[in-house]
């Protein structure tokens, strides 16, 4: 943004010397900032214009693009300036959905003891984020017949839904589905007992 000032002055000078026509307006300028995540890490983006590509891959890296020109040289914009530039959009950005995996005892719709502890986090998240939508998806390991596992995975999902409703969650915000043994978390062959696949996945949006 700061670099624009001398350029604007140059344009002004040139225009005054050659013509009395109104000044052509400076081209619109897009500004693109790469943001860090909550852990301070970033991925990367590639900005293309006028057939030129520039990669941004460090926190706060910023570049400007004038209409019809290649992307400008990247620089790091201080956090305060980023706030000044796009603060309201950042404030409006929803939190990404939170995911929880609850595990079950063998051939059962009873949660493991560890997973009963995870419920506390789940309830807290639901409370903190309200209003939310919640998807509850039941799964089994690959041991046993398909039909039996379809029923078991649905029973697991329903068991978790019942716990949530028992804690005051409105059942209309729950989307309950089940996958039987079709969608293991840990890939195994058929007829394999695998505790990590006996689960319900809960996504809070």
């Amino acid at each position: 943004m700061r670099a624009a000032v001398p350029v604007a002055f140059l344009l002004l000078a040139a225009a005054c010397a050659t013509s009395t026509r109104p000044l052509p307006p400076p081209p619109p300028r897009d500004v693109i900032v790469l943001l860090p995540d909550d852990q301070g890490r970033t991925g990367a983006i590639v900005v293309s214009s006028a057939g030129v590509e520039r990669r941004l891959d460090r926190p706060g890296q910023t570049l400007s693009v004038d209409a019809g020109s290649p992307p400008g040289v990247p620089y790091v914009m201080p956090e305060q300036e980023v706030r000044a530039l796009v603060g309201p959009a950042l404030t409006a950005l929803p939190k990404p959905p939170a995911r929880f995996i609850l595990y079950f005892e063998h051939n059962s719709a009873d949660l493991t003891r560890e997973s009963r502890e995870v419920l506390k986090d789940l309830f807290r998240t639901i409370r903190d984020r309200a209003p939310v939508d919640i998807s509850v998806v039941g799964h089994t390991d690959t041991l046993g017949k398909k039909k039996h596992n379809d029923a078991l995975s649905l029973n697991r999902a329903r068991a978790v839904a019942a716990i949530l409703v028992g804690k005051g969650v409105d059942s209309s915000i729950l989307d309950i589905t089940s996958h039987g043994k079709e969608n293991p978390l840990v890939p195994t062959g058929d007829q394999v007992s695998e505790p990590r696949n006996r689960r319900v996945e809960v996504t809070v949006r």
Partner: protein, 154 residues
């Protein structure tokens, strides 16, 4: 250990993609989560009041006034928001992990936006693109923000 963890997370992500179809005409592609000030969604000829819970379709335009902002979550669990005096259209969105089909194209023609990539950014980042009036932005699994330049008024 780290590799195992990443793989596990990815698998979790994949296995959670239940019943998410392609966003053919009329399918929900996301939902409005946060709204402030003057904020509307243009759908064809209709102007809808943006409010939390409003389901979004491909082709919807998000539009804000002076004090407005809108935040949405898309079906791939990415988050997107626009600030005041902004206009953004989701031109295409396709999220069908079972078929391996992913597509996200949004165009911001005015104002400011911020974005946190979701599963498309993880599974098929090259299929996620944002257009500004002057540039195209490709995603490599990340979050970023944009301010669109305003044409000068003579």
């Amino acid at each position: 250990m780290r590799r195992t963890l990443t793989a596990a997370l990815l698998m979790t992500a994949l296995s959670m993609l239940e019943c998410v179809g392609t966003a053919a005409a009329g399918e929900t592609i996301g939902v409005v989560r946060t709204v402030a000030g003057a904020a509307t969604v243009l759908r064809g000829e209709k102007t809808l009041e943006a409010s939390p819970g409003l389901k979004l379709l491909v082709g919807d335009t998000l539009l804000t006034g002076r004090d407005g902002s809108i935040g949405i979550i898309l079906r791939d669990d990415s988050s997107l928001s626009i600030g005041p005096e902004s206009r953004l259209v989701v031109r295409s969105f396709l999220f069908s992990p079972t078929e391996g089909k992913f597509d996200l194209l949004a165009r911001i023609s005015r104002g400011t936006m911020a974005y946190i990539s979701g599963l498309i950014g993880m599974l098929a980042p090259e299929n996620a693109r944002f257009e500004t009036p002057s540039a195209t932005i490709g995603i490599r699994g990340t979050r970023f923000a944009v301010k669109v330049g305003e044409p000068s008024v003579p």
